[in-house]
């Protein structure tokens, strides 16, 4: 029997072969995305695993490319596959991006409110208590000097060690915290001092006592009073901006956000538990809710993004404070020239424009 001479494959055969291979690879790419999207926790390691899979698929596409040669049908197949791969890659990136930012926003080494206060202000003198119930240490208020000018500083403070975390109630204020903050704002208004607030909370504390003492009323009152405060105000979300508990000190002339801070109506875990009925889908929820500084700027909900040191504020507290200082000074200067009435008018217009709807 004579050995059969190897014939060059026909065009049709090449196209069929490439199509078959492309289909398989497409399914693999889809599987990689499914793996990431359905991951419960540890999404980062799963995402990097998926990225490696995608690289493998890419290599195989390169190999197929050689086989396809000038076959039009096969080239078209490969082109489509390539686009599918890009889509999956983008999906995976978007999917993990918001959650990665969330983890940075909650990084245990991230500078907290008092770390900034220490670096940005001199003569900081804390004021305590709401004159009604008690002193909430989750909320810190005080007089301070900022580049020679008196200002009122307000913010939620997280704790570094267990003891401080407990004392600060994980930076989740009770109603008395919000009432203390309002008292501080009114004091600033009375003496014509600007209010600088620093937002870093998972949310207002959802406890029995908080409900009994009117958490909702305390937040509501702050929203209304901040809207008509007759002095300049700047709010900066430095870490977590959690819902009404964050907003209650963040109705201001300018709202800034650090690059790796988050600001949302509910925590990703909370959203996942309600909308997906599974708290582990937190990364999906983080992505869907659009909670990063870039997202918020696009939605028109913040006025500026404060850059952070390479890799995040946790790597260099001094540099993080310096970058924030630059932005705060700039914004405060811009507000200084406005009269109280102009301030209030523009603040109202700013809030009033937070509207998106179809009419008719």
């Amino acid at each position: 029997m004579r050995a059969r001479r190897k014939e060059p494959a026909s065009d049709a055969a090449v196209a069929a072969g490439v199509r078959y291979a492309a289909e398989l690879l497409g399914q693999q790419a889809q599987a990689a995305w499914n793996m990431v999207s359905e991951a419960d926790g540890q999404s980062d390691s799963i995402a990097s695993h998926a990225q490696r899979e995608l690289e493998q698929i890419e290599k195989q596409i390169a190999a197929l490319d050689a086989v396809a040669g000038s076959n039009q049908e096969a080239r078209r197949q490969l082109h489509n596959l390539h686009q599918q791969l890009e889509t999956v890659r983008k999906q995976i990136h978007a999917h993990t991006h918001a959650w990665r930012i969330t983890e940075l926003a909650r990084h245990p080494q991230r500078p907290y409110m008092l770390d900034y206060v220490q670096r940005l202000f001199t003569d900081f003198s804390e004021i305590h208590g709401d004159r009604a119930f008690g002193d909430d240490q989750a909320m810190v208020c005080g007089m301070a000097r900022y580049h020679g000018e008196e200002v009122m500083v307000i913010g939620q403070q997280k704790g570094r060690d267990t003891k401080e975390k407990l004392a600060r109630n994980w930076s989740m204020p009770n109603p008395e915290g919000y009432r203390k903050a309002l008292r501080a704002m009114k004091l600033a208004e009375k003496f014509g001092r600007p209010v600088l607030s620093f937002v870093d909370t998972l949310g207002a504390f959802p406890g029995l006592g908080a409900e009994e003492r009117g958490q909702g009323e305390a937040i509501a009152r702050n929203l209304r009073e901040m809207a008509r405060l007759r002095v300049p105000s700047i709010a900066t979300v430095i870490g977590e901006g959690g819902s009404g508990g964050a907003l209650a000190i963040a109705v201001a002339d300018r709202v800034l956000m650090l690059q790796n801070a988050i600001y949302s109506v509910i925590s990703p875990e909370g959203c996942a538990a309600i909308m997906w009925r599974d708290a582990a889908k937190k990364d999906l929820a983080a992505e869907a809710m659009k909670i990063t500084a870039d997202d918020l700027q696009q939605l028109g909900c913040v006025d500026g993004i404060v850059p952070e040191p390479e890799g995040g504020a946790q790597n260099d507290h001094d540099e993080a404070a310096r970058l924030l200082d630059v932005e705060l000074q700039k914004q405060l200067r811009a507000l200084a020239s406005l009269s109280p009435n102009e301030l209030m008018e523009r603040r109202y217009e700013r809030l009033r424009s937070l509207a998106q709807f179809f009419e008719g």
Binding site: P206, E211, G214, A220, G270, L284, A288, L299, L354, F357
Partner: protein
């Protein structure tokens, strides 16, 4: 044996005689009494036996409040843009379409003007049957417009809350509505135009933490659940059972956060009385 044979026409086929009762009767969750629905309707949706207040939808609420049930709606064509392109287990536009089809509303609030006890009034009534009465950009805008209308005409404003809070599918945009509405209420307050907040079952989250608690008077219907955080969240946080009656309107009255708990039958007289007190300033 002719008497075994029926000579006249046969009897009617013994088809089962049934009366449809479905939807005609309602069971009261409070006292387990079975109530004829028509009786319930005539009694303002309050159980005649135990006085439990059933929820009423926004349309009916407006009919109950205005003189002779007469009112004019305004700014009711607003629809959500789905600002986040939000998809969870279901796409948000699908949820919206479904809610719109089920309720006939474009979103979770109806704005109306008319008279109450002969006085002009603006009423915004929230619709709990529309995605839990949640507040997104449309509810925020509609209520803000109601406030601005009240301000412009110096007409008293009543907002009837019935909401689970901010609408998660509109994320941060919903949160910002709390600030927007509160800022508008600050202007209404400065202008000394009366604002009464009526909290009905249920009122939670971002609605409690903004306009619902900012009335010159905050009043509620008996037994309404009102709070900031939901009971399940609180139980998980403090790891203990909540006391009976927690977050009911009577509880809030006792803690000092409501001016009055008013029976549905007494609402119109109460509001008329309050508006009379506030009229001098308006």
């Amino acid at each position: 044996m002719s008497w075994f044979k029926r000579e006249s026409a046969p009897l009617d086929a013994p088809g089962e005689k049934r009366v449809r009762t479905e939807g005609l009767w309602v069971k009261c969750d409070g006292c387990r009494q079975i109530i004829w629905k028509k009786d319930l309707d005539q009694n303002l949706n309050v159980c005649p036996t135990c006085e439990r207040h059933f929820r009423v939808d926004a349309q009916r609420r407006l009919e109950l409040l205005f003189d002779d049930g007469q009112f004019e709606v305004f700014d009711n064509g607003l629809r959500s843009t789905d600002p986040l392109s939000f998809v969870d287990l279901k796409a948000y536009p699908d949820r919206l379409r479904q809610a719109q089809a089920e309720t006939g509303l474009s979103d979770a609030v109806i704005n109306a003007t008319g008279k109450l006890d002969g006085r002009h009034i603006v009423i915004s009534a929230m619709a709990h049957n529309f995605i839990g009465g949640s507040m997104g950009a449309v509810v925020g805008e509609a209520i803000t417009r109601a406030i601005e209308r009240a301000l412009q005409h110096r007409t008293p404003l009543l907002v009837v809350s019935a909401s689970g809070g901010a609408r998660m599918m509109e994320g941060i945009v919903s949160l910002m509505q709390m600030a927007k509405i509160s800022a508008a209420l600050a202007r209404l307050d400065d202008a000394k135009v009366p604002y009464i907040s009526l909290l009905t079952d249920p009122t939670y989250g971002g609605v409690t933490a903004s306009f619902a608690m900012l009335g010159d008077l905050n009043i509620a219907e008996p037994g309404a659940l009102i709070g900031f955080a939901g009971p399940r969240v609180i139980e998980q946080t403090i790891r203990q059972k909540l006391p009976a009656g927690f977050q009911r309107s009577e509880f809030l009255l006792q803690k000092g956060f409501l001016d009055a708990v008013v029976h549905r039958k007494e609402l119109r007289p109460y509001l008329a009385r309050a508006l009379n007190f506030m009229a001098a300033a308006a």
